[in-house]
Amino acid sequence: MSVKVRIPTPLQKLTSQKAEVEVQAKDIRDLVGQLEKQYPGIKDRICDENGKIRRFVNVYLNEEDIRFLKKEETSLKDGDEISIVPAIAGG
């Protein structure tokens, strides 16, 4: 599946300053693996030592937090849009 991934500013150094990249992936776990292949080093930033998405990283599929879907197992289809967003304070 071909999906678009929006890359947050702190990670754009790894994507040659690109804010949006295209990746072929079947689910979120696969997506992280594919990102790592294309942009080595990115997985360590997004995932902890056990390969789980870090607790301060929010991943959204078409604007829905993947923790409300199937987390890393959330499957993807052509044209999906993924955002990776650091946690933000507020109130």
Binding site: R6, P8, T9, P10, L11, K13, A19, D44, R45, I46, R54, R55, F56, V57, N58, Y60, E63, D65, R67, F68, S83, V85, P86, A87, I88, A89, G90, G91
Partner: protein, 419 residues
């Protein structure tokens, strides 16, 4: 003199320059201000603080600025009310209300964080400030940015209380109501913040902004005669306030400013329908599960709390606990505080009062030790939430007979008030 050294990742400890940065490039942990405490130790004392202005700027040595403040000159230093009638109702010995419902200029504790954020925004050269808000922050950024002369973009969820919308619009910001909940507004804002070079108070200025909340804790300790209370109940949305009140007590302790040994237990108050932090604490869970908020306490309607893990750590480290209260308990809490202490707080304050009542009744807060309630906002902003619950005025004709028949002959009893 400035004691602001650098920014540091709260997760991995990596250091960053004191710029408008908010997240660690390596692990996405949030950045925290790092001070030169040795230098602060040499200049700070109870006397030096007491000589300062009657505002949050009396704690300036412990706030993240390089020069002089340029916003929020009159914010903070709100009353610490000895709440004897409420204490009697709740059957506790020593109770205080920290009353930020009268914080200048927009009647919530957010005036503290915004005073710091906008002063720092000026130092960093921004001419435009922005925020994502559940309402109180929107009011405060709108007002303070007007006073300080910034352009201002304010993003809110579309379903906020009317008073919170009017109390932003009146200061002529670019107010943007987003068709979504707060967490969606926040996600959008993080994308806007990446594209526009603005000072987003809760995004790229977050490390500085959040430090403003410490002043609530500093004031409580100073107003108690340089003592930290035994127990403190505070509401949680993102969880930042709880972590900063704790940090304030720890800093005072470290700098030798407290008379007593720091043993404050901190309790997290959240509304049913938006209680991801309190739920994780009560269930002793490692993971904070995000929720889709559904509560009358809209200022606490954050389902994905950025500082949730840190707030949970504070509660556990301090030996405190948490309570979750229903919409009806929130309304009762608002009315109880008003009827006993003459303070009209917003829904978040109702959450705090109701949670305190619950924790006392559960025996988690002992009845014979000092307790402070952090009341963080003003009831005039959330009137919709309780207008059905406060009754209606007597309707009479303009004559004595009508008054005596309708009012004095009424069955309705005047509530007892004995101070």
């Amino acid at each position: 003199m400035s004691f602001l050294k650098s920014l540091r990742c709260r997760e991995c400890g990596r250091e960053y320059p004191k710029q408008a940065l908010y997240v660690c490039e390596y692990c996405f942990g949030s950045l925290e201000v790092n001070y030169d405490y040795d230098a602060i130790q040499k200049v700070i004392s109870r006397e030096s603080i007491a000589k300062g202005p009657k505002s949050l700027w009396r704690y300036r040595d412990l706030l993240p600025l390089e020069g002089n403040p340029s916003a929020g000159f009159y914010s903070g230093f709100t009353p610490l009310v000895k709440a004897d009638i409420l204490a009697k109702e709740l059957d506790v010995k020593e109770l205080y209300v920290k009353d930020d419902s009268v914080c200048h200029p927009t009647w919530s504790f957010k005036d503290r964080v915004v005073a710091v954020a906008l002063s720092r925004a000026r130092e960093l050269g921004f001419d435009t400030v922005a925020c994502a808000s559940t309402g109180n922050l929107a009011n405060s950024v709108s007002a303070n940015a007007a006073w300080a002369g910034f352009k201002r973009y304010i993003f809110i969820p579309h379903n906020l209380e009317k008073a919170k919308i009017v109390a932003s619009l009146v200061y002529a910001p670019q107010l943007v109501a987003v068709n979504g909940n707060y967490d969606e507004v926040n996600r959008l804002c993080s994308e806007i913040a990446a594209k526009y070079k603005w000072g987003f108070v809760n995004i790229n200025l977050r490390a500085y902004y959040a430090e403003g909340s410490k002043t609530l804790g500093f004031e409580i300790a100073e107003q108690l005669g340089w003592r930290a209370p035994d127990h403190l109940v505070a509401p949680a949305a993102s969880g930042s306030l709880i972590t900063k009140i704790w940090k304030a007590f720890k800093e005072f302790d470290k700098l030798g400013l407290l008379e007593n040994k720091l043993k404050t237990k901190i309790y997290c108050a959240q509304p049913q329908g938006s209680s991801p932090i309190a739920t994780a604490i009560l269930e002793k869970a490692d993971v904070i599960k995000p929720v889709k908020p559904q509560t009358i306490a809209k200022s606490l309607a954050i389902g994905n709390p950025a500082d949730g893990y840190y707030a949970k750590d504070v509660i556990q480290d301090s030996g405190g606990s948490a309570a979750i209260v229903s919409d009806d308990e929130i309304r009762d809490g608002i009315k109880l505080l008003a009827r006993t202490e003459g303070i009209f707080t917003e829904t978040a304050g109702g959450v705090t009062v109701a949670a305190a009542k619950k924790l006392i009744n559960q025996g988690l807060i002992p009845r014979n030790e000092s307790l402070v309630l952090a009341i963080t906002g003003n009831g005039l902003k959330t009137q919709e939430a309780i207008q059905e619950a406060v009754g209606a005025p007597y309707q009479i004709e303009p004559n004595l007979d009508s008054f005596e028949k309708t009012v004095m002959g009424s069955e309705k009893k005047h509530p007892e008030t004995v101070r």
